[in-house]
Amino acid sequence: MTYALEISALEKTYKGGFQALKGIDLTVKQGDFFALLGPNGAGKSTSIGVITSLVNKTGGQVKVFGYDIDTDLEKAKSFIGLVPQEFNFSQFEPLIHILVNQAGYYGVTKKIALERAEKYLKQLELWDKRDEPARTLSGGMKRRLMIARALMHEPQILILDEPTAGVDIELRRSMWSFLQELNQQGITIILTTHYLEEAETLCRNIAIIDGGEIVEDTSMKKLLAQLDLETFVFDLQDNTTIATLTQFVAQSPTMTYRVIDDHTLEVDLNKSQNLNDIFKQLSAANIEVLSMRNKSNRLEALFVSLINKKSNAAVATQQSAVVGAN
């Protein structure tokens, strides 16, 4: 098994004493599409900072394709392409200069760099802007520029720190398909995002970090299998009324229905129940369904429950410590 990334007992304590990483262990397989999720301040960006050598670690080990960043830093860096959270290019330089210079830092000749710049700028629909200073780009274009820049040395691992923040849904989806294509070409992708739908759609494996600790590290499939409750929303025919729906809900004690308005009904469904029973009940009550959708993002529900579980455990520990002290 080849690992693109191996992190063990990684620690980072900032100068003020804040411990951002408390000994995390993590592995990412070669070719994986990996999500690193966590609330704000959980340690995601610090982890990425250490991997890319923008943050000095205070303990532990990081290996990139087997190369330890303590002993083979330059070799380890050559595998990584980084798309950071904040815009970090010169606002005054034209796009083409930004890309060609970036490739040069990795030893790519100008001729090859110009070919790659053309390829990626065209793929990311920025070719027409190649001679414009970066400050003239829109937010979405700037995000795409950072992706193009990260690809200029054809990295084996692409790390994206919230790449679609502030990007409209259409553009976000086109970026998703671009990232999926890259992953299919064999590039290992590590993604942090606040859009949990993004992680659910793209990633095969996932780690959740909170308070500088990994609270979950598993496959997306296994994580979602933990979810035992989903909420569905039914949009109903115009001929239904509040009275009809209220009566229907009162006569259906086995299901948890909620009447939203005279044309909308919600139901919570656990693993032991199935959708056929709901359709049968609705049909028996002469309620016609126009459409149905899953109400909440499934991963979001799990994410919140995992983070809450950790917070509750911390509070319980504190309380027991206080009781013990008393």
Partner: protein
């Protein structure tokens, strides 16, 4: 990894930067130095007569060229590197497998290019006011190259420590300018009382200006050997300090 390509990339970026804003980087020194020539050279200089055995205008030309080289080498690296920190595009280099010496050499090389280019412009401007003599071209080339490297390194160290744009103007205003004015640009230090001649010996700019003046006029207040020894000492010291700071990530990595 081909370090020469990385070095060329940083150097190209630096040259593109000051050429893109040439009105801010190349024109002002030419205007400022022209004013010095008109006021100190033509108007006041004509009443002074000779200095060090040559007419005053010819005496101040090497010092004024050197002053422009020093100021521009320093400020180019200080402002460019600090801007890269401020805009965070310095991270482009930090995440790449670029050795620290290449980063230092690239930025210092960029500062030297601007310093020397401005020096050439000022030299051309001075031809409008005075016939320039060339006593030893190799001393001129060696002095201007090493001096621009020294102050480019100084600008880099200033930018590494700087936390705001104010911090990159403090050193030029309160240290560099006084040292330059007291560095024998406008007078021969032999005119000073003995005590102040001794004090001038600890000003490195005295050695740079005098070595440069020797290249043009064949006259100097200090020996060439001591001048090059002082310049080399400063280059080695400042390069070592810059390397240590970048290796430790001071002001760059958290």
């Amino acid at each position: 990894m081909n370090n020469s390509i990385a070095l060329k990339s940083i150097l190209t970026k630096e040259i593109q930067r000051f050429m893109r804003i040439w009105v801010q980087t190349l024109v002002p020194p030419a205007i400022t130095i022209s004013l010095y020539f008109v006021i100190f050279g033509s108007l006041i200089g004509s009443r002074i007569g000779e200095m060090g055995g040559v007419d005053y205008m010819s005496f101040i030309v090497p010092g004024l060229i050197m002053m422009a080289v020093i100021t521009n080498s320093y400020s180019n690296v200080a402002s460019s590197f600090f801007s890269a920190k401020w805009q965070r595009n310095v991270e482009e280099m930090l995440v790449a497998p670029v050795p620290n010496w290449v980063i230092v050499a690239g930025y210092v090389g960029g500062g030297m290019c601007r310093g020397i280019l401005v020096g050439l412009i000022v030299t051309l401007v001075s031809l409008l006011f005075v016939d320039i003599q060339l006593h030893n071209i190799w001393v001129i080339i060696a002095t201007v190259t090493l001096t621009s490297a020294t102050f480019a390194l100084g600008g880099l160290i200033n930018a590494i420590f700087a936390g705001s744009f104010d911090d990159i103007s403090i050193i030029p205003t309160f240290i560099l300018t006084p040292l330059t004015y007291l560095g024998g640009v406008f007078y021969s230090i032999s005119l000073l009382p003995e005590f102040w001649q001794g004090v001038s010996q600890i000003n490195p700019i005295v050695y740079m200006v005098n070595a440069f003046r020797y290249g043009f006029l064949g006259i100097s207040d200090v020996s060439l050997v001591s001048a090059f020894a002082v310049i080399t000492f400063f280059i080695v010291t400042l390069f070592t300090v810059a390397m240590v700071l970048i290796s430790k990530g001071i002001g760059l990595r958290s």
